[in-house]
Structure formats: structure tokens, C-alpha cells
């Protein structure tokens, strides 16, 4: 069964490997979860169930343990470990699929190529000409003094007494910025920092930026009309995802125009390069960028109807590089390509005026880059491995219990566990009803009551099982086997609960470094418990043998 499952793993690997061969499959968000979308998930669940059922049918045909064929506790443990291995292998085709996916993407889209392609896309992006607003003066972040200014675009916040600029009926006003910094960990309220326009969070501090004074930039401004000079959008960057501790957050009332500026430094660099390109004014250089980008788009099967020359003619305006035509962001029929409300804003009117037949689904390329980056960065054996580990473990334990003690004790065990849960629940309810203290007191009571009962069950199983009737001893045996890990969890939980409470009493500065066992273990608790669980089963096998040899009363 293991070898069949390994073959199937290879199949799923291949399946994963070929499922992204068509670049179009990268056009939609979360291509890394294609497993859940292309039916592979149902296929894998079906295969898993089928394999487990067939395996169980064969497994249940013979039971050497039941017939008292010679064995030892190590062999018994080996049986359990095999059950676990088989169940685990039969349920984790997802990982084979994901590794196939990752291998394909890693090979097909190597880092250097992708880096070059992203750079090219960022170079070509200023000429996408999709939205007028991408080219308005508020997008200026380069050169000086714009790199240190903030452009207010909302009428409500514009100081009409100061210098402001108007294009159609949109107003723009530039402000210098003041800043305040505070450590991240300080927990007092943010009220001091209200009205900031944006914040930058670094490893240990947050810097708040506030509008300071209105600045007159008339000298530096060539024109208020939309121009390729103004474009500062970052088409794609995987840098800002690298360090989550260094993030830029725009505050709500200001952020909607800043959506393309996730990374100010990068925006400045891109705008600088773009302005330099336009200043060089070399038609061949621009045409080459556009034609290279078209080749790139074709590689990723991005839908467009651009030709290098056609596009070049649309955007090349050597005098001042004003925006003179627009390209649609997806294919629309003639009827749909223009705004058609009865009352259009001036910007919309301008859009209708400038829009052309050309279209380019550039968003798809962005998503494709994002998908590739995501898949490359994901660790195939991620957090959800714990789910499969523990699922397999408990399934293996149940099958093991069934094999060792038989069906009747297993069913009785389920009933007894159910009854115990109800009884414990009732006692806790009763306690909370009669006790005058409320809150955490009950938590402690419940934990210690469960701990007490758990300890009793475990010690009876370990030390005085042979005084019980064989069937009852089997129930204790099963409960100990299935309950050991929850019991361990309970102990760690109780210790952590005490530690947390002790921490709460400490002064604020000290509470930061307070030791709490559960937090200390972090996500490693799963691995630690898992190892303990296996060692437990190994030693518990001796108890099982002793139980099996028991005579009936």
C-alpha cells in the first residue's frame, strides 16, 4: 500500500508539474491554490478514501495479535507506525501536487529572467495609458522638491488660501511634511498621532507624517495636464512583501489615490528612470521597450491588440509627453468602451475623448508575476502539515485500538468518553452556578477536574489494570491511548495558564519578557507533542501486551 501511494504521489507530482504549463492559468489570483480549483482536490480525496478503504479491507482480514501469534512490544509499535505511515501517505497527495507546481515554476521562471521581466514591465508601465489619474501631477514624487512633498487632492482638505493647481475640475495642493516617531511597543493611544497622512513602520518604531505648510511648486511644474512625466506607479514589485516590518500605511481618508505607491522609494526610482528616458527622448529606445514588452506579453499570453509601432505612435509626443491617447485595460466592444452616464465628470469626458481601440490586460501580467512570486516563496510543507500529521495520528490510533482490543471495547470507549465529557460539563456548570467567584476561577476548576480524571484513568491503566475485568481494562487502555496527547496538552495548558496569570501581576516593563511555556513552544508544540506521542505508544505497547495476556474473570 505504501508503494502504491508513493506511485500516486509521483502521479500527483506530475499532475502538479503540468497544471501550470499554460501561462493563462497564472492570470487569476491565487494560482497556488489551483489544487482546489481544477478538481485535483476531489480527485485526491476520492483516491485517499479509496486507498484507505482497500487497505483496511486487507488489513482486517488477518489479525495475528488476536490469535496470540508471538510478538513483542516493539513489533506492536512498528504496526502502529506503519498504520500511521500508510494513512499519512494516503492523505497527503496535496503536498506532492504542490511540490510539482513549485518545481515547474522554479524551473520555468528562474529568478534572473523574472527579475529582468519585472524591470521591463516597470519600464513599460508608464506607457500603459490606462487611467488619466495615473498621469496627473499629484503622482509626482521626483525630482526635488516633490520627493519630500505630499499632494492633497481632496477638496475638503485643500487650503484655498494657499497656492493650488487645477486641472479640469480637480484641485491639487502640495504640502511639506513634518514627522513624529514612537517605538512600536508603546501601547498608549494613537490620539497624539491623529491626522497623520501616512505612517511608516520600521522594526521598532513607527513614523507618522503630518501635513505641514503649503508649498508653491509653480517653478518646478511644467504643466498641470496629465503627462508621462508624472507617472510614478510601480507596476510590480516583490520587494515590499519582503519585509513586513517596514511597511507603509496610508490613512483612510487619504489613501485612495495612493494605491499605486506602496513603496515610495521604488516609486521615486521608477519615476526618475522614466523621466530620464523621456528626457533622453530617443524614439528607438522607447520603441524597443514597447516591442520587448509586447514579446513579454505574448509569452504570458496576455490579451492585447497592440503593435510596437501602433503603441509607440499613441504615446510618443516628443514635445512634452502629454497624455494624448488612452489604452483600455481589457477588451470592450465599441458600445462599452466609453462612459455613458447622462452626466459625466470632466475627467470622464476627457477619457471618452482619448480612449482608443487598443487594449492591454496588464493586470493579468501583474497577477501572473504575483502568482509566480507566491509559488516560489511558499514553503510546500507549511503550517497545514500539522493537520495531516495529527489526522493521520488519530486515525492510526483508532485503527490500532480496533486491532488490539476489538470493536466492542472501542465502541464502549467512545460511549464512556462521551459520558465523561457530559459529566465533567455538568459538574463544571454546577460549580459555576454555586461558586461566588466568576471568571477564571472556573477555568482553573475545569482544568484541574479534567486533569484529576485524566490522571486517574492513566494511572489505573498503568498500575492496576490487571485487577479489572478484561473488557473494562480495555476501555481504560483505549482511553489512555487516545487521551494521552490531550492530557499532555492540558498539563502544558495549565502550566501556561499559571504563568500567564503570574505575568499579569508583574509591572508592565517586565511583563514583556515573561516566560509562558505554551508561547515559548510556539508552533513547535506540534512537533514536540508528536515525538512524545510516538515514544508514548512505544512504551504503552508493553501495557497492551500485558492486557492482552490477561485472563477473563
Amino acid at each position: 500500500m505504501l508503494s502504491i501511494s508513493i506511485i500516486l504521489h509521483i502521479c500527483f507530482y506530475v499532475f502538479g508539474f503540468i497544471s501550470l504549463t499554460n501561462p493563462e492559468s497564472l492570470h487569476n489570483r491565487r494560482a497556488d491554490s489551483i489544487f482546489f480549483e481544477n478538481g485535483a482536490v476531489f480527485f485526491s480525496i476520492m483516491i485517499s478514501i479509496l486507498m484507505l478503504v482497500i487497505w483496511l479491507i486487507y488489513l482486517f482480514k488477518n489479525n495475528a495479535f488476536k490469535s496470540f501469534y508471538p510478538t513483542n512490544h516493539f513489533a506492536l509499535f512498528k504496526q502502529f507506525a506503519l498504520y500511521f505511515a500508510i494513512i499519512f501517505c494516503c492523505t497527503t497527495f496535496y503536498y506532492a501536487f504542490q511540490s510539482g507546481l513549485k518545481t515547474y515554476v522554479d524551473n520555468k521562471y528562474d529568478d534572473a529572467t523574472i527579475k529582468g521581466e519585472i524591470a521591463l514591465a516597470n519600464k513599460a508601465a508608464p506607457f500603459f495609458s490606462e487611467n488619466i489619474t495615473d498621469y496627473t501631477i499629484d503622482k509626482l514624487v521626483y525630482p526635488k522638491p516633490f520627493d519630500a512633498l505630499f499632494c492633497e487632492t481632496k477638496d475638503d482638505f485643500i487650503d484655498y488660501a494657499g497656492v493650488y493647481y487645477r486641472f479640469l475640475n480637480n484641485d491639487y495642493q502640495f504640502y511639506s511634511l513634518s514627522q513624529k516617531t514612537r517605538p512600536t511597543k508603546a501601547s498608549y493611544a494613537d490620539s497624539l498621532y491623529r491626522n497623520s497622512v501616512y505612517t511608516i513602520t520600521r522594526d521598532s518604531s513607527i513614523t507618522y507624517y503630518f501635513k505641514d505648510k503649503v508649498i508653491d511648486v509653480t517653478e518646478n511644474l511644467k504643466s498641470t495636464e496629465p503627462s508621462y512625466y508624472n507617472y510614478s506607479g510601480v507596476f510590480y514589485s516583490n520587494e515590499n512583501n519582503d519585509n513586513s516590518n517596514n511597511s507603509l500605511v496610508f490613512h483612510n481618508k487619504h489613501d485612495y489615490d495612493y494605491k499605486n505607491r506602496k513603496n515610495l522609494r521604488l516609486s521615486r526610482r521608477i519615476q526618475k528612470e522614466n523621466q530620464e528616458l523621456l528626457t533622453r527622448n530617443n524614439p528607438n529606445e522607447i520603441r524597443e521597450i514597447l516591442s520587448d514588452f509586447i514579446i513579454l506579453s505574448n509569452k504570458y499570453k496576455i490579451k492585447h491588440n497592440l503593435t510596437a509601432n501602433g503603441w509607440f505612435d499613441l504615446v510618443y509626443n516628443p514635445k512634452d509627453f502629454k497624455l494624448k491617447a488612452l489604452i483600455q485595460d481589457e477588451y470592450r466592444t465599441d458600445n462599452n468602451k466609453k462612459y455613458k452616464h447622462s452626466k459625466l465628470t470632466k475627467t470622464q469626458e476627457l477619457y471618452n475623448e482619448l480612449v482608443t481601440e487598443y487594449y492591454l490586460e496588464s493586470d493579468r501580467l501583474n497577477i501572473a508575476f504575483d502568482n509566480i512570486d507566491d509559488i516560489k516563496k511558499t514553503n510546500v510543507i507549511s503550517e497545514n502539515i500539522h493537520f495531516f500529521l495529527w489526522l493521520s495520528f488519530f486515525l492510526a490510533i483508532v485503527i490500532f485500538m480496533f486491532r488490539v482490543t476489538g470493536l466492542k471495547p472501542l465502541l464502549f470507549t467512545i460511549v464512556v468518553i462521551g459520558l465523561l465529557t457530559i459529566i465533567i460539563g455538568l459538574i463544571i456548570a454546577l460549580y459555576s452556578y454555586i461558586s461566588t467567584y466568576r471568571g477564571q476561577n472556573i477555568e482553573y476548576f475545569a482544568s484541574y477536574l479534567t486533569l484529576f480524571i485524566g490522571t486517574m484513568i492513566l494511572s489505573i491503566t498503568l498500575f492496576s489494570n490487571n485487577r479489572l475485568r478484561k473488557t473494562i481494562a480495555a476501555i481504560f487502555l483505549n482511553m489512555s491511548l487516545v487521551g494521552f496527547i490531550p492530557y499532555l496538552f492540558l498539563i502544558v495548558g495549565i502550566i501556561s495558564m499559571h504563568q500567564k496569570d503570574a505575568c499579569r501581576d508583574l509591572p508592565l516593563e517586565k511583563s514583556e519578557d515573561c516566560f509562558v511555556l505554551m508561547e515559548y513552544l510556539g508552533s513547535y508544540w506540534s512537533y514536540v507533542f508528536f515525538a512524545i506521542a510516538f515514544v508514548f505508544v512505544l512504551f504503552f505497547s508493553k501495557v497492551i501486551l500485558k492486557w492482552k495476556a490477561m485472563a477473563e474473570a
Partner: protein, 386 residues
Amino acid sequence: MNMSKKQERIQEVSVFLKNRDTVLGFRKLMDCALDTQNLSIYKDIIALTDWKEQFPAEEDELIERSFSILEKISKEPVEEYDTSKPIVVASNITKSYGNNRFRLGPISLELKKGKVYGLVGENGNGKTTLLRVLAKELKHTEGSLDYGFDKRNNNEFELRSNLVYIPQRTQKWYGSLKDNLKFVLSSYGTPPDENETRVLMMIARLGLWNYKHLKWSELSSGYKMRFELARTLLRKPEVLLLDEPLANLDVLAQQVILEDLKSICNSLNHPIALILSSQQLYEVEKVSDKVIYLKDGKYTDNNGTVSKNERPQLIVEIDANCERQELLDVFNATSLEKLIYNGGIFVAYFSNDTSFSSILEALGKNNMDVTYIRDISRSTRRFFVS
């Protein structure tokens, strides 16, 4: 010069073969082969069994081929096992199912290897309980129970894996008969090539050759019991506890299986202590070295009340189409002490000096219509009818 036991057995086989008792002779030949524990001889036997099943009519060649194997066997050394040491010693064991309920014992007994012990008694008198106590399936209430196995047992589980108990109702199994037998040996860690040979040898010995590919549902209950025996014997048990192995078997099959059991248990180098319970008094008494009669949980040693040398009271069981008075008249001349009629049969008790032949003579002279008559003076049958 005295012949060794091995030579005696080989001699016995050659006599059977010469007398053309091929069925019995071949079985005994296989017993001799089993004693050698030699896989090459096993393979010869397997090949011959296969040939025999293909050409059942060619008796002469079978005898000839059997002799050549017998020749080979006679050259193999066989180490005899010392059977004087008891393997199970129970002293004063009792088993109580609670106050005022059934209570077994106290019973003391010793089981030795190579011996067959018959456990008889009416229903509900504790036969199964005793077997299960001896097999450690049930806890005994009092007394001590000791085992003297050759294999050292490190723990209770190992001890129990040596105590082979076959219950009256055996469990269903899956797959073919042969595969199931191979599973037993593989559980014991026998290497695959040796596994096949040993399994086929056991199949041949227990007469399962033509049934080896059948499944559980395709076997009659008699063959299911044979399968259980084969499975058990592959485990090389030192003690074998069988609960009603003869139930569901026809009279002939009962005899054959008892004979088989007896000769397998009497193996020279691997004897087995066999204890079996049964209702088939006559058949069991015929093969048992000792009969244990249980009545109300108490143990009566059949040989204990009457010693072998002493002549016991003559007890005769008679089924006749006549009135009680007629029989009394017939036995008037003999020293009749008691005549009991239990609805179906008469049981007549005579004094010690009466001979069975004189009873037959009296019945014959009076021209009685007797359908069945048996001397049960030494049989446990006398406990049942009294």
C-alpha cells in the same frame, strides 16, 4: 537388539504398505517424514501427494515411491524427546462463577507431552471452563497452575502464545486456506521458501490437498476443523487444548481425525500434550491415554476407582425390544445385582465374577431380540447412565 521407536514406526509403515493399506500407510509415512524435520523429505512427500491425487489408481507405483521415501527417512537421524516431564501441572484449581452458581473443581491434573487426554461429561459440567482455565483464557479462583514449556516465556503474552486453544466455534477467516496457513508461519518469521514447503506438508498430512485453494465459505465444517488443526500444528504447540473437535463430524471422520491427532501428538521429536473435550465417549476413550470425567464440576478419574489389574464390577448396556420382566427372567441364572431402565436402554449391574460372555450366552439361549449391547465396566459411559 531392541529397535528404536523410529525403527519401529518405519517397520510399521512398511507393513502397512506391503499389505496395501495405502491410505493408512501413507499417513503414517507422513508422520515419519514430519519427525525428520527435513525440508527435502517434505518436498518429496509433497511431490508424491500431488502425483497420488493425479493418479489415484496407480497403487503399485505409489507403494514403490513410498518405499523410496521411507528409505530416505530411515537414514535421517531423529532425536527422541523425553516425555516424562509434565508440561501442565494444575493443583486443586477451582473456578467459581459467583456464589450459588456453577463451581468447577477442585481439580488436580498433570498433562504430559505425547499423551492424549479426553475430557468427557454431560453438558454444563465444566468441560469448556476447564479448558479455558488451562488455556489461561479464564482466571481460576483458587489453586495453582504451572507450565513447564521448553521455550522460556519472558512475559504473560509469550506464555499465552504457547497455549494453543481451539474453541468449539472457530472464527471466520478470509482468503484461501493455503494463504491463511502461510500467514501463520510468516507471523512466526519463517522464510518464504521454507514457509511454502512446511505449509504444503501440513496440508498433505491433514488431507487438505484438494481443498487448499478453497475459501472459508467453500469448506464443510469438518474441513474447517482440519484447517484449524493445520493452523494450530504449524505453530508447533507444546500443549493443545481442543474444545469439541468432533462436533459436526461424521463417525468416520471422527475416527480419522482422532487417529491423526493421536499420531501427530505422538511425534518422536515434537510430541504434544493434547487435551480434548467431546461427547463421543466411545471414540474418545479409544484414543485417549486418560479420560477425565466431569460431573457437576467435579473430576472423577476413570482409572482411579478401579485399578487395571483388579476385575471391576460388570456393567452392561443393553438395547432390546422386550419388557423389563423378560430381561429379569433371562438374567435370573446370572448374579444380577441391579437392572435400571432409563427409557431407552437397560443398564444391568452384575457381580465381579460374572463374565461378559456368560451374559451374551444367556441372551442367546433365550433368543432375545437385542439391537445393541456393550460392556461399559471400564468406560466412563457407566457414569453417564447411572
